[in-house]
């Protein structure tokens, strides 16, 4: 169990982490999500004792990290974001070094080291120097080193960054597997990762927590009712304007794409737009090619949350983007 209470940290007068509180229960993977520079790494460094917070408290398994720093650290396995290992050391040698450093009893050292190497699938490179390994392997060596003293809590800072897709899948599987015996806090700026791996999400932006919940509840709470994607044959320049006027439509965005017009609609909560859209198209003589419900993704939630904050903070923000903007759909004109 890991508890973070009202953590605050400023660097040279700039507030990097402002009043961050959350709790990670045993056997849970908490995703710590935020854009680059949001304060994820700073928060994690305070949890692991690399940085001292200006205010607030970190409790690891009931132990106050400020009062008993060494005991708290003994219960944490940490994979830093900028993973720097000693390149001249061999993999097994390094994991053994970490075991000795973390006070693993001598009798158990050998077994624990082999266990950690096997768990992280690095036993095949155990006698290679770390400097000769690929990034994916090094990441897993770092994970093995974080695991070797059997900590209750794992703090993983961007564990999949810089890996190729195959390695990402491997590392994610590994993390899901580790959930059985560990409490895991995982930071990422990759949204699908959160939906794939995490049980709960804390979204942080500019040092403040902006939302907390399971990926599903966040999606439900923070988006309007599911939207619709409408495709109409031919170029219909004012399609979005017309559909916007239908009752129940909150927002409409048009994407012109080669020979057809796509409109993304966002509906009021509980409203079913399908019939109204169909009748409107028939009345205007448009050929309806596609009418598909669209579940908002966590990405929408994220973009929307951050955009809302930008807008609240006055000019300079670019205003609200369409909440149903399709990922990768190119330009959407609101």
């Amino acid at each position: 169990m890991l508890e973070v209470d009202a953590l605050r940290k400023s660097f040279y007068g700039t507030l990097a982490v402002d009043d961050v509180s959350f709790r990670v229960e045993s056997g849970e993977i908490l995703g710590f999500l935020g854009p680059n520079g949001a304060g994820k790494t700073t928060t994690m460094r305070m949890i692991t004792g690399f940085l001292e917070p200006n205010a607030g408290r970190v409790t690891v398994d009931g132990i106050d990290a400020a009062q008993k720093p060494r005991e708290a650290r003994a219960r944490i396995g940490y994979l830093p974001e900028t993973l720097a290992l000693y390149p001249e050391m061999r993999v097994r040698e390094y994991v053994k070094f970490r075991a000795e450093l973390c006070g693993v009893p001598r009798r158990e050292t050998k077994a624990r080291v082999e266990d950690a190497l096997a768990t992280c699938f690095v036993d095949d490179v155990a006698s290679k120097p770390i400097g000769n390994l690929s990034k994916g392997y090094r990441q897993r060596v770092g994970l093995a080193a974080a695991l070797v003293h059997a900590p209750q809590v794992l703090v993983l800072d961007e564990p999949t960054v810089g890996l190729d897709p195959r390695q990402i899948v491997k590392v994610r599987d590994l993390i899901r597997d580790l959930k059985k015996d560990h409490t895991i806090l995982l930071s990422t700026h990759i949204l699908p990762e959160v939906e794939l791996v995490c049980d709960r999400v804390v979204i942080i932006d500019r040092g403040k927590i902006v939302a907390t919940g399971t990926p599903e509840t966040l999606r439900q709470q923070l988006t309007q009712a599911p939207g619709l994607a409408v495709a109409i044959q031919g170029e219909v320049p004012d399609a979005d304007g017309i559909l916007r006027r239908l009752p129940g439509v909150v927002r409409a965005a048009r994407i012109g794409a080669g020979g057809e017009t796509r409109v993304l609609l966002e509906a009021e909560r509980g409203a079913d737009l399908r019939e109204a859209v169909f009748r409107e198209c028939v009345a205007r003589g448009w050929t309806l090619l596609e009418l598909a419900p669209r579940q908002a993704t966590l990405e929408d939630v994220f973009v929307r949350l951050l955009a809302t904050r930008d807008a609240e903070e006055g000019p300079g923000g670019e205003g609200l983007p369409a909440a149903v903007e399709e990922p990768g759909a190119g330009e959407a004109k609101p």
Binding site: F50, L51, I76, T82, A84, R98, R106, A145
Partner: protein, 245 residues
């Protein structure tokens, strides 16, 4: 204790993976060997007064240059390298105190420094084949090397904890060591008798001359050991200071 030994071992072995270590080792042996040879030659000439060869070996100017320069170079990477690469993050988030980290690194550096001197043990052993050698003063000389080595490596560890840049660490360390060394020499320029006496205690050349003569004065040992502890304390504070930012 186990963590301390783990850090010591890692630091000591890490030297052998860096080309710098071999360059230092080679240069050190080459020049030391030449100095030994030169002393041998000069003692062979009839007009030189009779002296102990090994005592000269530990008293000459090269000895001090080596002690000061080599210890700066040996110690410069101890903390700086890890701060630069970022591996310090994993080290300091392990359940070990900063004091243990500093002590382990210091001992690793000192072990390597003493390792550099190890081949010179052959000189008196070789000499003993051709004449009678009094091993007492030689043992106390090596004690002197260990003590001053510890002092200089401790200063170097502190300098290394201050910066990410190894070159800056080496320069800062060398300046600190030189200041310690010169404090005793400056005595000659001071007129105030109290200060003169005080600086006398810091005179490293005199300390080493005593050791080379086989004289082990506990005051000198206490001075060096407390200075080592002081520098390691400063280094620990420097490392802890980084937690604020």
């Amino acid at each position: 204790m186990k963590a301390l030994f783990a850090i010591l071992k890692r630091e000591f072995l890490a030297y052998f993976f860096s080309p710098l270590a071999y360059v230092v080792l080679t240069a050190f042996l080459f020049i030391n060997g030449y100095v030994f040879y030169a002393i041998l030659l000069s003692l062979n000439s009839p007009e030189t007064p009779r002296q102990e060869l090994m005592a000269l070996f530990f008293k000459n100017v090269f000895y001090w240059i080596f002690m000061m320069l080599v210890s700066s170079i040996v110690a410069m990477r101890l903390v700086s390298e890890e701060r630069k690469s970022g591996s310090i993050e994993a080290l300091l988030t392990a359940p070990v105190g900063e004091g243990t980290v500093i002590a382990g690194k210091f001992l690793g550096g000192l072990t390597f420094f003493l390792f550099l001197w190890l081949p010179t043990v052959l000189y008196p052993v070789a000499l003993s084949r051709y004449g009678r050698i009094d091993f007492g003063p030689i043992a106390s000389s090596y004690l002197g090397i260990a003590l001053f080595g510890a002092l200089f490596i401790a200063a170097g560890t502190f300098a290394s904890a201050l910066t990410k840049n190894q070159i800056i660490a080496a320069i800062v360390s060398f300046v600190m060591i030189l200041a310690l060394f010169l404090a005793g020499v400056f005595r000659e320029l001071v007129t105030d008798p109290k200060l003169r006496e005080g600086l006398g205690y810091l005179n490293l050349i005199e300390h080493m001359d005593d050791f080379a003569r086989g004289l082990v004065d506990t005051r000198r040992v206490v001075y060096v050991v407390s200075a080592v502890v002081f520098f390691l304390f400063l280094a620990t504070k420097a490392l802890q200071g980084n937690k604020g930012k």
